[in-house]
């Protein structure tokens, strides 16, 4: 199936490693032109080099609204427009400080909202504009306690659906992909496997598919939703978790 991604222009945040990186790779493999950002300049340079082709990148702290917006606008201009925006940066877990709420609010929610608002003019102009927000199964399933991370991911699911109705008439689709536990080298679950092996093992046992997902498997789902091939799909929260969550989704 041709996804229709050739020469599409995509921006992926937080894409030097893990899920974001796999999304950038998959989009590139499908013929899209990709721009990435992350905090660490060395990591961005290395990722851009490895992604190859027309990939560009910027060292951006998305908590800095001005810096982030300036990079998005500059990148949109350099690419001559934007067809796809993947909001992937996240603040991660933790409930040991009230600051976690501010951190996840800024890194998960505001980074997504700011990115969408800055890029919507270009996405509308595209005619095939697609936003994919990276959520988490933590938004819909108990995980690790009352963490800001979980609540802010839930906020993103709601924002994504609301936004999808709001902009569909102007040619933009908005979807969320909620991965379950995803294992990769240098990822959170690799550290959890080493530091909390019992928790890691009990989590794997809850996955009827028998294994955590890979960033590539998430990237496949994201890439499809971001592509014109998914032209009918908007406002959905697509769970990609190998059966980790137990609820019945109607």
């Amino acid at each position: 199936m041709d996804l229709g991604l050739k020469d599409k222009r995509a921006i992926v945040t937080g894409a030097t490693r893990g899920i974001g990186r796999a999304i950038a790779e998959r989009l590139t493999a499908e013929g899209a032109r990709v721009a990435i950002c992350a905090r660490d300049a060395d990591a961005v340079t290395e990722a851009v080099e490895q992604l190859g082709g027309s990939t560009t990148g910027g060292a951006v702290n998305v908590r800095d609204a001005d810096e982030y917006k300036a990079w998005l606008e500059k990148t949109a201009e350099e690419m001559g427009g934007v067809d796809i925006f993947v909001a992937n940066v996240s603040g991660g877990g933790g409930m040991d400080s009230e600051k976690n709420w501010w951190r996840c609010f800024e890194l998960d929610v505001l980074h997504t909202v700011r990115g969408c608002e800055a890029l919507l003019p270009a996405l509308k102009e595209s005619g095939n504009g697609a936003i994919v927000i990276i959520g988490s199964t933590n938004a819909v399933e108990y995980f690790g306690g009352p963490m800001a991370y979980n609540a802010m991911k839930a906020a993103l699911v709601n924002y994504s659906s609301q936004l999808s109705q709001f902009v569909r008439g102007e040619g933009v689709r908005v979807n969320t992909v909620s991965p379950g536990p995803i294992y990769f080298e240098g990822g959170a679950w690799e550290m959890i496997k080493g530091t909390m092996p019992k928790f890691y093992e009990s989590t794997v046992r809850k996955i009827p598919g028998g294994a955590m997902g890979t960033p590539e498997e998430v990237a496949n789902v994201v890439t499809f939703l971001a592509s014109p091939a998914a032209s009918l799909v908007t406002g959905t929260n697509l769970i990609a978790d190998n059966g980790y969550t137990k609820r019945v989704q109607l």
Partner: protein
Amino acid sequence: MSKQPEHETAEIRGTPLDKAPDPDLGTEIIAKERYTDAGFMRLEWERMWTRVWLVGCLERDLAEPGDYCVTEIGPESILIVRQPDGGIRAFYNVCQHRGNRLRPTGLGSAKTFQCAYHHWEYKLDGSFERIPDLDTFPQGGPCSGLAEIPCDSWGGFVWYSLNPDVEPLLDFLNVIPEHLDPYNMPNMAMTRDITVEWDCNWKTSVDAFNESYHVQGIHPQLLWHLDDLNLQIDCYDKHNRYLLEFATLSPRVRVPPSIPEGIKLVMKQAGMDPADYDGRVSEIREDVQRYKREHGAEQGRDYSTLNDQQLTDDYHYMIFPNNTLNVHADDYWLFRQRPHASDPNKMYFDIWTFELVPDGEAWPERPEHKQFKHGERSIGLVLDQDAENLPGVQAGMNSRGFRGLWLGNQELRIRHFHKTIDDYIYGPGDKPEGAL
């Protein structure tokens, strides 16, 4: 070791960082019988334990005249007593009449020490107070009272020796006071006082703390908390140490996407909020050092005698023969490993932990001593991991199928430890061919 951060000022000397030259201790197998043989245990007792300085108790536990501590080493029991003149004396805890123990193990306070058997009574200085029916002893009373042994203080501890001709304590300790005085250990309050009975030789336990090679084996979680590979090992005359970076990642693991929990804990203890931190994981260690340097005084924590590395890192010392110490800016742990009275396959593991009491805060109540057998209670995740292996190691030392200890460079301190024991047992450089 890592580079010195630029802001370190010249006047902060801290604990010396100089690398001591590595001794050439060869690559020979260490004989397993040293851990299991009753004959070798006797040699250790006669030529080593009875010649060295040993940690007896906390000086702080003997605050008032008459306060005393009874501590045990091998088959002996020692009574350490605060004197009316403020000094401290140590005696064998043995009544000179029929040999009864005067006091049970532990802390107490007394005006005199009266034997429970025939009520022979001794003054705090060990001399006789009263012998009932003295006139029925035609030979009179013994000419002296309790058998006294050398005792002295350093580091907040009372030390004693079973060797009447022992060298001065500070000579025995060698570089240790210069290295550890900057921590001001007497200003740290005891937080745990536990003795665990372990089914292993006392050296099996000492060995378990004198190398970082085992971290990847039994403490995988610590690989996201410390650098177990790039550490500095220093061997001195009897004692040795390693300097190990905390609040950093082991080169054995990949950089994770978020701050590991162990490193978050270090940040929180310093007063930083990890949720507010935007730097890289690799920058945290030095940022914590900077933060503590800047905010220590306002937290009532005086770090002025410590160098920057000491504000985060683990300086691990072995004070020969049986004390291993993890020393940090805000706390330290002393593990005292004591041999069993007669069985080379058993020992006592004393856990003494201490925390800095910030200026203006009340000195916390001393914890009560607890004693139990291995496995009866948890002693914390990391120590449980250490303890879990030891009975199996000791059983293996007794196996016909085990050839002896095959040590690598990361275990240099274990070789140095055995060399020092040999120096006591056989005389420096005089170990006979084929001796254990």
